[in-house]
């Protein structure tokens, strides 16, 4: 008879290594990294520029410029250019974030010789026609107005503002930003951050040798320079409890958190462990207490985010209005317990194994590995950075967790925002 009460044997022998990307540096300074792998004859080409929010003097500059890349070029309308990509079953995705912005091309390797000229057109010859800008802005504003009715969006928008003040990482989006932005500002931003800058390129998937030549020839046509991230000061946020009443809502959105060190910092691995225990996975203390014991919410979690120059740690949930106050009380109670009582070995083991398993999953295959390699490359980290982090995480002790909670998660450092009511 099979004994169903005992867990089968488990082991944690893993290979932590990342693929060594094949780096080509062109004469003009463009670095192209090839991450070979994948079972299908397709590749993804990420072209990344330092063109994120951190450079913004005004909200929306980075994201609008990025979203409208290729929506009209010197020689083609938006429709003609998009049709040209479609012709080869290829598509591009535009993405902008706090630090970087860029374009990803998804395509079959065999069509790259036809697609590269189109991609260059996007990167060098976008023309930002006024009517494309107007339509985009109108629809983006409609989406924004929609979002203002969602407590979760309002809370996210305002919370980062409270953490970062006027720093471009955090400036909340306001209705007037839509009327303050012009097509000419977008075009100027494009010239400065795309045309005159050389990007970093990551090509992931199956790429034949001859395609590499096609890719190199195309990027050799760029002629910008490299730029640095600005050094801007961060204000000291005012910790405390904030509340924005929203009429007619039945749930509140809650955020509790602070600005925090980034992944390079020596405290980061202990922080990761402490965060996971508190709210970083399904079996976390917050989930157990607030969802699985009290039924106050569909989900509650906490997380760490690292931007180039700073990071955020926060807890987020949407909960019934009537249980908002209780939820907050329980959140602080769980933090308090972590700051005073050592975590038991069994829980440490679960959390470490969970992080480990998650890491192995996150480096499964070329496309997942590429996401990690992008981070180590762009941040200038050693190629074994993640492996070292994992080894440090495995060596974290209950004392380390308690110390880190007392150093970072204490209430006097935290911003609490409730949108809705309590």
């Amino acid at each position: 008879m099979t004994n169903r009460t005992l867990q089968p044997e488990i082991s944690h022998q893993y290979n932590f290594d990342l693929i060594d990307p094949d780096k080509h540096t062109l004469k003009n300074g463009v670095d192209i990294y090839y991450i070979q792998g994948g079972k299908q004859d397709v590749c993804r080409m990420d072209v990344l520029y330092k063109a994120g929010n951190i450079f913004e003097s005004k909200n929306l500059l980075s994201s609008i410029t990025n979203d409208l890349l290729g929506e009209g070029t010197l020689n083609k309308t938006s429709l003609q250019l998009n049709d040209a990509f479609d012709f080869y079953g290829a598509y591009i995705q535009r993405e902008s974030s706090r630090d970087y912005a860029g374009v990803s091309l998804f395509a079959s390797d065999k069509h790259l010789s036809n697609l590269m000229p189109l991609l260059l057109e996007v990167l060098l010859e976008s023309s930002y026609p006024q009517h494309e800008f107007d339509i985009y802005l109108k629809n983006r504003k409609a989406r924004y107005e929609d979002n203002l009715r969602k407590v979760e969006f309002v809370c996210r928008n305002e919370f980062t503002g409270m953490i970062y003040g006027e720093h471009p990482y955090g400036k909340p989006l306001r209705p007037e930003h839509f009327s303050e932005i012009t097509r000419d500002e977008i075009n100027a931003w494009y010239l400065q951050h795309y045309v005159q800058q050389i990007p970093v390129v990551f090509v992931t998937g199956r790429v034949e040798e001859e395609s590499k030549k096609v890719i190199a020839d195309a990027f050799a046509k760029l002629s910008g320079s490299k730029i640095e991230f600005p050094i801007l000061s961060f204000i000291n946020p005012s910790p405390g409890e904030y509340m924005m009443e929203q009429e007619g809502v039945i749930q509140s959105a809650i955020r509790v958190g602070r600005s925090i060190v980034t992944i390079e910092h020596e405290d980061y691995t202990s922080l990761s462990v402490a965060n996971t225990i508190l709210g970083g996975y399904f079996g976390s203390r917050l989930m157990k207490n607030i969802r699985e014991e009290k039924g106050y919410t569909y989900g509650i979690g906490s997380g760490l985010v690292s931007f180039e120059k700073n990071g955020i740690w926060m807890i987020a949930a949407e909960v019934g209005k009537d249980v908002t106050a209780n939820t907050l009380k329980e959140i602080y109670k769980e933090i308090d317990i972590l700051s005073k009582e050592k975590v038991e070995e069994d829980e440490m083991e679960i959390v470490k194994n969970y992080i480990l398993g998650n890491y192995i999953k996150s480096i499964d295959g070329a496309f997942n590995q590429a996401d990690k390699i992008k981070i180590t490359t762009l941040r200038g980290l050693h190629k074994d950075f993640y492996k070292d982090q994992i080894l440090k995480i495995l060596a974290t002790t209950p004392d380390d967790v308690m110390n880190i909670v007392n150093k970072y998660f204490t209430k006097e450092h935290l911003v609490e925002l409730v949108v809705g009511g309590k």
Partner: protein, 424 residues
């Protein structure tokens, strides 16, 4: 001419299928290049199998599947200890559970999944808490979002008899509140059974290993008397239906739903391609005509519901403040009528097929996607559909698009929801 791709050999997904004596179908996809393994269990039960007075039950039940089984008090802890993670979803047709785990620990997956197929713990207190959690989920997704109640309104407008008339979350919160432990037990023993499920294991495993583990852990679970599905057939709609609501939302929204055949119907893929022509990417017809040229919508899209019983084609979008819903609807009809009147250019059809091919290739690089696609293909009667379906897409002609568009886009086959923004 557009580049024509013939997609074959290199796309083939290998798999093996066998059936245990108790009726459990097992599918294995071997991929020695990954360190991971995925386990997917699809139970052939969804919201359509619920009683009309106890809706939302299949989904509530999904929550209870994580609250301890006969021999294992806690599902998540041991899985996390083995480095795994998991989730599940419920639809109107199925309830699907999946986990990802380092391949060497796959037996923990077999242990956990087989025990909850064997029997749940059935604890009153856990049921009470999960009811609360589901009610919060109901609020978060359906009530506390602008337009969140669209499907609560639309389903009973398009379905009059078939149980698709209620959403998986349930018709009303009260149904969730009323669920009793007796109901839970009954539901389990009439729907959760080896002979009402399929198990897919994909990743760094071998067929021999999976055979042995499946036999060891699932082999002794008894076959059960599964409730026979006997659902009312939705009568043919013969005249246009319309519902008008006014709520506190920022903009007017138009939603139009049209009846279409089920997922297994030979025309299903044609429907799917029609919605791609209408709605996939920036060059699609709805976006070009209604957002870019006429600027009547700020956002518009179309999609099919690939449901096991006859489903829906849905066109919906937010209307620009300078236009009325009536004008917006008229503009949508112009786009739909065009599809019914003129054969679309060969190149346009080839374009959406090519794009679908690229998307599919990226999707099939994930073992989880492969496992779920095998599971749903098996449910539809043939797991090998994962390898043959792209060929079927390739065979759809511009004439098929014309024929099917004419069948579906008719006023008497439509249900229209006019969702107005309350003027302040």
């Amino acid at each position: 001419m557009i580049v024509r791709r013939v997609l074959k050999k290199n796309c083939m997904v290998n798999f093996e299928r066998f059936v245990l004596e108790n009726g459990l179908v097992v599918l294995v996809h071997e991929d020695p290049t990954t360190p991971m393994a995925v386990m997917n269990i699809l139970y052939d039960v969804g919201a359509r199998d619920e009683d009309e007075s106890m809706t939302g039950f299949a989904h509530l039940f999904e929550h209870l599947m994580f609250e301890g089984s006969k021999n294992i008090p806690n599902y998540d802890g041991p899985l996390q200890k083995a480095g795994g993670s998991n989730n599940a979803f419920t639809s109107n047709d199925i309830t699907n559970y999946y986990l990802t785990i380092p391949a060497q620990n796959i037996e923990t997956g077999f242990w956990l999944e087989s025990d909850r197929m064997l029997e749940l713990a059935f604890i009153q207190e856990k049921l009470d808490i999960q009811k609360k959690v589901v009610i919060e989920e109901y609020k978060q997704r359906y009530l506390n979002q602008p337009y969140g109640d669209i499907w609560l309104l639309l389903r009973p407008l398009v379905y009059k008899k078939h149980p698709y008339l209620w959403p998986t979350i349930g018709k009303e919160i009260k149904h969730i509140e009323d669920a009793s432990l007796e109901d839970v037990k009954k539901f389990f023993f009439t729907h959760y059974a080896p002979n009402n499920a399929n198990l897919v294991v994909a990743g760094n495993v071998t067929v021999a290993q999976v055979k042995e583990l499946a036999e060891k852990w699932f082999g002794s679970i008894p076959k059960r008397d599964v409730r026979k599905r006997n659902l009312p057939v939705e009568p043919k709609q013969t005249e246009e239906r319309r519902m008008v609501v006014e709520k506190d939302v920022p903009a007017d929204m138009l939603t139009m739903a049209f009846h279409m055949p089920n997922r297994n119907h030979p025309d299903y893929i044609t429907y799917d391609l029609i919605t791609d022509i209408l709605s996939s990417g920036n060059t699609c017809r709805l976006y070009q005509a209604l957002v870019k040229e006429k600027q009547i919508f700020t956002d518009v899209g179309a999609y099919v519901m690939g449901s096991s019983d006859p489903g829906l084609v849905v066109v919906s979008g937010k209307v620009d403040k300078s236009y009325t819903i009536a004008e917006a609807e008229k503009a949508v009809w112009e786009v739909l009528d065009e599809l019914k009147t003129n054969t679309i250019p060969e190149a346009e059809l080839q374009k959406v097929k090519n794009k679908l091919d690229t998307r599919e290739k990226f999707s099939l690089m994930s073992i989880l996607n492969i496992a779920q696609k095998l599971a749903t293909s098996e449910l539809l009667g043939n797991a090998n559909k994962i390898n043959t379906e792209l060929d079927e897409y390739n065979q759809v002609s511009t004439d098929d698009i014309l024929r099917v568009s004419s069948e579906v886009f008719r006023k008497e086959n439509s249900a229209v929801l006019e969702y107005y923004s309350k003027k302040k």
